[in-house]
Structures are given as structure tokens and as C-alpha cells.
Amino acid sequence: MNNLTELANKLLGDGTATKVIGYEEAHGKTRPCFCTEAADTGRLVLDERCTNNIAVYLTKPEIVGGHKVAVTATLPVLRTMVQLAMENQLPDGTTAIVSTESGEGLAVLPTVGDMERVVAGTPLDISGKERELRERLKAMSREERWQFWLGEMSRCIKCYACRAACPLCYCTRCIVDNNCPQWIQPWASPLASMEWQISRVMHMAGRCVACGACKQACPMGIPIHLLTLSLAEDIQNEFGVAPGSVMDHGNVLSTFKPGDKEDFIR
């Protein structure tokens, strides 16, 4: 029995949790799984292959209703949990299980405060391929960017996998399902898809933890995470709020500073 299984069993056993949301291995990848009893926990894994953001389940009454939940949290998942807590969406008594910094051991974070401390000590770093893509996009002319995104948006099939996979898209009724007025055309077309993405990204402003779940979920391979990443970076530059960090009060868009920049206002 590995450490994770042991720990999960302990939490299930001592009543800390009645359901563990974690990852299991399947088809050469990992995927989310749910354990409610010791017999289930043997399949739990937690390593760098775990890329789904399973915090998405924390806002689903069907999953968490009537349960005390423990989540085996990767860093993006943990960031999400802290953000969810700030938005009153983290179910009471939710516990996080994380790998310790060395990667060897496991730690239990029983409170949001504990989670915040871990998150605060691990700032987000946008690098590698994402950085490259972002730089490439920046280097384009405006017209080129428009053509680039128009091309990408033309491939969108409006399946809303980006919405479904995003743990911070938890609205009871999404704006696209609101037809009074019909803010966004409900069918797939470049404009409707672009308007949807603009809405999604604006709604993510200052909230997105840059986990990349949206991109990973997109069956068409549209790099929509570039939009949230770009915005997150701009917000960090402008307001000093880093993606994945939590403001103690409100949100980037629900607060302001009297001295905010206004060089674009004439």
C-alpha cells in the first residue's frame, strides 16, 4: 500500500473526509477518480502526470453534496481551491492532500489558511512553450493577431469543454445560457465563439490560476489558454496581482485604486 492510499484511508477512517477526489491511472494517462471507501483508494496516484484540474468537482452538488471532501491536490488544484474559498465556493471542511516540496512525502492541509500558505510560497511561473506562444503573439501586428484568432475561432465547435473543465466556471447559469437578452449567439460562428471567449476571459480576470484546463479540454486544440494567460500577465503587470495569488478583499475587477493608470482615457 503506498503512502497516498494509506493517507486517504486514514482521512476516510477518521472522518476527516467521506470522499476523496483524486487521480487514477487509465489508458496510459491519469484521470479524475472518486473514492468513498478504503477499497477504492488503492488506485490513487498523484504525480506530474496529473493534469486535470479536479477542483472542478468541488462546485458540483452532485459530487460533493452530503460529503466531506478531501482532494489530492496538485499545485494548480490547490491554487484553485484557495480561489474558490475566496469566492465562497469551497465546501466547508474540504481538505487538501499535497505532495511536500521534496516530492517525497505527503501533507494534509486541513484549512484554507494552510492552503494559502503553500500557494503563497509557490508563485506561478509562466515559462516554456506558453511563454514562447505568448511572445509570438505579442510580436504579431494587430491585423495578424486578428487573423490568427479568427482562424482559431473558426475552428471552435462551441462544445463548451473549456467552460466545463474550468474549475472557476461554476455559474448556475452561464451567460451563454441567458437568452434575455441573447448576449452571445448560441451557435458556433467565429464571432459568437470570439464573444464567448472574451466573456470567459473577462470573467476570469484576476481569478484565473493559469492551470491550462481550458486548453487541455479543447477538442479542437485551440490555444484559448493564451488569452487567459495574456490577461493574467497584463493584470500582474498593471495591478501586481499574480495569477493564482489571492487578494484579501474582492477581485481585480471588483476593486480599484484611485491611482490606477488612465493614460488611455483622454
Binding site: 455559474c171 447559469r173 477581485n251
Partner: protein, 668 residues
């Protein structure tokens, strides 16, 4: 709405000469949902209004667009007319064809076309209007005044004299505030206590005023007309009903070396004390921090000597609840201490004092009985230097603002010194003399010209002690930055007026905003100077910014008038143009998901949490709810809400969306 009436006003020539009004009406008649359209010379005239009313009745109109002057002009007129004809007034919209069209464009097809499009936009908007009814909020006609200085006293008396109950809360053992500490007041030099004391007594005796001294606000909840205040009555350790205020305890108390707050640290008081002889109420409190009994369990002299057995050592703080309809915040200000100024000795030199301390020296009730004697050795100073703008107007000290009162009181201090110490020499170092106010400039001139106070324009760089003298080194900028050095016996610093201790905490309890210096912020600096952004909470006096007595009293009376106006209504009637969080049938209840980000965006604390429960009382979800008593209808929350669960009545998403699309429709 689909029986819209459109009424195009010529406004005489004002619109008619530029816009083809008949054509606009004709175009409007063919718009979807329009049942009736006409034009008329003067819609706002009686016949014009009658025309609208008749059309509403005759065509059973369910919406009206009046194309006329700015809605800021006649929207109320036309809405009233609609109401008189039985149409909900909020189903009437005004198309601005004058200020936004005929007056700014030349006569021509483009202008008429624009007028048609403006009308079209509003027709599409009004088709989505909903009938609204004004919001009635009940009012508890009792006011809470926080702070018993002159501002609080004035506000309490004014409100009480209007026949309303007032609760006045003061954190010190006596009301009176800073004004009771002052000697004479500028520019009349009348005795501060002489004019204040009668007001203090009036407060104590007023049947409409309940006075709580040695008390502080614990918390405030609710909203305009309906606040609940929790007030902490700190334990005075006496039974006030038994105490006669004879003062025997204070004379017998063995702890006599406590610096007196009232005397700004220049005098001493006992542990059981009345802050000053004219205190209201004139009953002592025990300062637990210094009392031997509280510290060691011994002593108890006061208890023994008290003839009425009024001492209560076991007394505890008490919290009382008061329902009030309005709150006036008059918590005043403070002055910086001398220790704030390294260049002037960090407060180490006993004879470098603040202006407030000088007031006590000059006061007949002060520690020197009104004689100017220096604190260190009690000698009468022969040379006194007054330094204005100590801290004020000094961004480096973090106080860029002007403390406003210092110029005047410094002139007064110098003048009082000259009056009391004949042959004495006084110097005032200043940056600018700001003496705006009735008889103020004359007062300063009198100090200079009649009392021969030496005004030196320049900064003092340093003060140091040398052989019992304070060496004041500065420059005279009017003499080409000539260095000036004065051997003074005493230096008085006009230290900056700053916000009172705990003001930030209080602001947070009250949900009112404050500026970077923690002075409370008014709702509008010009037009709403005594209101805060939280409806029903008013501010007055120096808690907003340093103010002199006349201004303090004026704002206090202003705030009182606002309270009286609020209380003069049977209930509070508000425009229904407020935000609303949607509600629907189970199982959805509301599309609000309860993230409460809207709460952080609302400038008015108008968004509350509502628990939605099932039949058994179990909470199913917690959603936002707008308190219509507090909401001012700015709509910031509406634009912020991700799921569009909040909408603004009168400017709803559907209305604005339709108006925008309609204004652009002809291009499609």
C-alpha cells in the same frame, strides 16, 4: 410593451427649426410596437401634456417616448403626466432631441435622421421597460451621534430640538472635546469654556437626549432608517445613580501623578477623576489602568470615603442595543505630538510644546491658572518662538494637506502671549499666512501690528538646547534666505491636525469611506458635504478634515438638518431604480451562485446575503440580495455579475441591449 405612444415636441423653434418633427413622428408611427405617434409645438405645456394623457387613455398605450429636451429637464414632468393618465411613470422615456440633436447640429436630413434613430433607440428600450413602484423604507426616528465635542453637541441639540430622540456617545468621561481645552477663541478672543459649557449642560438636561459618556460604538448593522447600534458602556466603577459628584474621592485618591489628558499632559490627575471641573456629567470614573486597587487589589480609599457608597469595583463593561434611523459621526481630530519632529528634538525638550499644550498654559483653568510659564522650570519665558506648519503641507511627513486652523491659532497664541507677558518677545515662523474667514485677516494683522509679533517667513531647520536656551535656527526667505538664529525660552509647534485614533476602525464599523489620511470622506465634496456614501450616516466637524469652530458648528447643524429632513418623512420613499438579484421558482431559486464579488464592488454596502432554505429549514444555498433601502442604482454590480443574476431596474440588460442594437439598426 407594444402599444407605444411617441410624442415629438417642437419646443417652439428649438427643435422644430432644425429637425423635421412631423417626419420624425411619421417614422416613429411605423416602428414596431408603436401604436400612436404625433408631434406638437410644446409638449411640456398644459395642452401638450393633455395630448399625451388623452392618447394614453384613448389608445390604451403601455409605453411612452417623448422626443423633447433633455430628460434631465422634463423627465419628471412627463412621467408625472403619464402617471396622471394611469400609466406607470417608469414606462415613459425621453428622447433627447434638443440638447443632443437640434441644438448641436445644422438643419438637414442627417439631423432629422439622427432624431429618428434616437427615438427608435428609446422605443426599443421602452418596449422592455417594466412598471416600477417607489420603494418605501420605514424609519426609526432616533439619531445616534458619535462624539461629544462641539460638533456632536451641536448636532445632538439641533436634532433634539426638532423633536427627535438622540443618543450621544462620547468615549471620554465628559463631553466637550477639544473645544473645552481651548483658552480663548479666534478671532473674537472670547473664552472657549464660557461659550461651550452652557451647551454641555443643555445636552445633559435635554429630555430628547440620552447621553452615554465613557462609551464607544461596538458595531453598527442595518441600513438607513433602520440601524442597530451596539454601544459599549465602559465600566466607570461607580454607581452613577448614587454618586452626587461631591468630589471627595478625587481629593483622597493616593494616585495623583497621572498625566492629565485634559491638560494635554501638562497637569496631573488622580486615578479616580473628573477630567475637568465643568465636566458633564460631573461624576468621576476610575481609570483602571492606574488605579492601585485594580492593579494590586489593595487601596480602596475612594470606596471608604464615598459618602453615598457609590464606588463599584466589580463593575463590568456593558453592551446596549439601540435602534436608530440615522447616525452622525462627529469624532473630531487630534494633533501630532512633538515627538514626531526629529529636527525639533523628538519631544525631548520639555519647553518645545504643541499648540494644544499652549492652550492649556494660556487657559485660566489650566495647570498654570492662565499664566504662561514654561513646563521645564515654571519660569515665564521671555522669548517664545511659534512654528507654523509643523507637519502640515509637508509631503515628506506624509501630510501634504493644510491643517487650516494653525495660522489662526498661532496668531492667537502669539497675541495671548504678548498680552500676558509684557515685554515678552514672540516670533512666528510661517510658510504662508492663510487667514481666509470673517475677521480672520484683520486678526492676524492685529497680532503683527498692534501686538508686535515678529512674523518670519521661513522654515526652522533645527532646534537644540544650549545653556538653558532653545536655539532656533531657521531662515528668513523674505530677506533672501538670511539665516536666522533665535535663543528662545519656549517653542510652540503648530503641529498638524490629524485624524483621531481609531478612526479607521470606526469607519470600517460604519462602512463609510475615508481618505488616505483616515479622515472620513463625504459623499460629494461640494454638494453633499455632510453625507457619507452610506445612506443615513452623516459626518460633521473635524473628523472630515481639520476645521475651526464656526465651520465645525456649521457642518454639525448641516448634518442635523439632513437628519431632521430624513425624519420628517413618514417613511423613506426612494426611486425604484435599484439593482435586483433575480429570484425564481424552485429548484433554481436564483441564478446567483453566491460568489459575493458584487459585495466588494458595491460602494453602498447594499448587497446582503440571503439564505435560501428548504421546508425543513436547511440552507440550500446562499445568494446575494440587494437592500433597496441602501442601493443607489449605480449598476456597478450589474456589469460585474458574471452570470447576469443582478439587473438594474430602469436600465436593465434587456433595455440597454435593445437600445444599443436599435440605435445601429439602420446600418444593417
Amino acid at each position: 410593451m407594444s402599444k407605444i405612444g411617441v410624442f415629438i415636441c417642437h419646443c417652439g423653434e428649438n427643435i422644430g427649426a432644425t429637425v423635421d418633427c412631423a417626419k420624425v413622428a411619421e417614422a416613429a408611427a411605423s416602428m414596431e410596437g408603436v401604436a400612436f405617434a404625433t408631434d406638437y409645438k410644446y409638449m411640456c405645456s398644459d395642452p401638450g401634456q393633455t395630448l399625451i394623457k388623452n392618447a394614453i387613455r384613448e389608445h390604451r398605450l403601455d409605453g411612452v417616448v417623448v422626443g423633447a429636451c433633455s430628460p434631465r429637464m422634463h423627465e419628471p414632468t412627463f412621467r408625472k403626466a403619464c402617471a396622471e393618465a394611469g400609466l406607470n411613470p417608469y414606462l415613459c422615456e425621453i428622447a433627447n432631441l434638443r440638447e443632443h440633436c437640434s441644438w448641436v447640429h445644422p438643419k438637414g436630413d442627417d439631423t432629422t435622421e439622427k432624431a429618428i434613430e434616437i427615438v427608435h433607440g428609446l422605443v426599443e428600450k421602452v418596449r422592455r421597460n417594466s412598471p416600477l413602484t417607489p420603494i418605501h423604507v420605514p424609519i426609526t426616528k432616533k439619531a445616534l451621534v458619535i462624539g461629544g465635542g462641539i460638533a456632536g453637541i451641536q448636532a445632538a441639540l439641533d436634532i433634539a430640538n426638532c423633536g427627535h430622540k438622540v443618543i450621544l456617545v462620547e468615549k471620554e468621561p465628559s463631553i466637550g472635546g477639544h473645544m473645552s481645552q481651548l483658552s480663548e477663541t479666534f478671532p473674537t478672543l472670547d473664552c472657549s469654556q464660557c461659550i461651550l459649557t452652557p451647551r454641555m449642560v443643555e445636552v445633559a438636561q435635554h429630555p430628547n437626549i440620552t447621553l452615554y459618556t465613557y462609551a464607544e460604538l461596538d458595531s453598527l448593522s442595518g441600513f438607513i432608517g433602520n440601524f442597530e447600534a451596539k454601544i459599549r458602556l465602559k465600566a466607570k466603577s461607580i454607581d452613577e445613580s448614587l454618586c452626587t459628584g461631591c468630589g471627595l474621592c478625587t481629593t483622597k485618591c493616593p494616585q495623583k501623578k497621572i498625566p492629565s489628558e485634559f491638560n494635554a499632559g501638562l497637569g496631573r490627575r488622580t486615578a479616580i477623576y473628573v477630567p475637568f471641573p465643568q465636566a458633564v456629567p460631573n461624576k468621576p470614573v476610575i481609570d483602571k489602568e492606574h488605579c492601585t486597587h485594580y492593579r494590586t487589589g489593595k487601596c480602596g480609599v475612594c470606596e471608604k470615603v464615598c459618602p453615598t457608597h457609590a464606588i463599584r469595583f466589580g463593575q463590568e463593561d456593558r453592551i446596549i442595543n439601540e435602534q436608530v434611523g440615522a447616525v452622525v459621526v462627529t469624532t473630531g481630530f487630534n494633533v501630532l505630538g512633538t515627538d514626531f519632529f526629529p529636527e525639533y528634538g523628538y519631544g525631548r525638550y520639555a519647553d518645545v510644546i504643541t499648540g494644544l499644550q499652549f492652550e492649556r498654559l494660556a487657559s485660566a483653568s489650566g495647570p498654570t491658572l492662565g499664566e504662561i510659564r514654561r513646563p521645564s522650570d515654571g519660569k515665564v519665558p521671555e522669548k517664545v518662538v511659534f512654528i507654523a506648519c509643523c507637519g502640515s503641507r509637508d509631503p515628506a511627513k506624509g501630510i501634504p494637506y493644510c491643517s487650516k486652523i494653525c495660522c489662526m491659532y498661532t496668531a492667537k497664541h502669539a497675541m495671548l502671549y504678548q498680552h500676558k507677558v509684557h515685554g515678552g518677545e514672540s516670533y512666528v515662523f510661517y510658510m504662508d499666512i492663510r487667514a481666509g474667514g470673517k475677521n480672520y485677516e484683520e486678526f492676524v494683522r492685529r497680532a503683527i501690528e498692534e501686538d508686535h509679533v515678529n512674523y518670519v517667513r521661513g522654515r526652522v531647520a533645527r532646534i537644540y538646547e544650549k545653556e538653558g536656551k532653545l536655539i532656533v535656527k531657521g531662515v528668513d526667505t523674505l530677506l533672501g534666505a538670511t539665516p536666522v538664529e533665535i535663543e528662545a525660552d519656549m517653542v510652540v509647534l503648530a503641529t498638524a491636525g490629524v485624524s483621531n485614533q481609531g478612526s479607521e476602525e470606526l469607519a470600517q464599523k460604519l462602512h463609510i469611506s475615508y481618505d488616505p489620511y483616515k479622515f472620513f470622506a463625504e459623499a460629494h465634496p461640494k454638494l453633499r458635504p455632510v453625507e457619507t456614501n452610506t445612506a443615513g450616516i452623516f459626518v460633521a466637524g473635524a473628523c472630515q478634515a481639520p476645521k475651526d469652530i464656526p465651520e465645525t458648528v456649521a457642518t454639525a447643524s448641516g448634518a442635523a438638518a439632513k437628519v431632521a429632513a430624513l425624519f420628517s418623512q413618514p417613511d423613506l420613499v426612494r426611486e425604484p431604480l435599484v439593482a435586483v438579484v433575480n429570484r425564481s421558482a424552485p429548484p433554481v431559486f436564483s441564478t446567483c451562485v453566491g460568489c459575493f464579488m458584487c459585495q466588494t464592488a458595491c460602494p453602498y454596502q447594499a448587497i446582503e446575503r440571503e439564505e435560501i432554505k428548504d421546508r425543513s429549514g436547511k440552507v440550500i444555498k446562499v445568494v446575494a440580495k440587494v437592500n433597496p433601502g441602501l442601493c443607489q442604482g449605480c449598476g456597478t454590480c450589474v456589469a460585474f455579475c458574471r452570470s447576469k443574476s443582478i439587473d438594474l431596474q430602469g436600465f436593465s440588460n434587456q433595455q440597454m441591449f435593445a437600445e444599443v442594437e436599435a440605435l445601429l439598426e439602420t446600418t444593417n
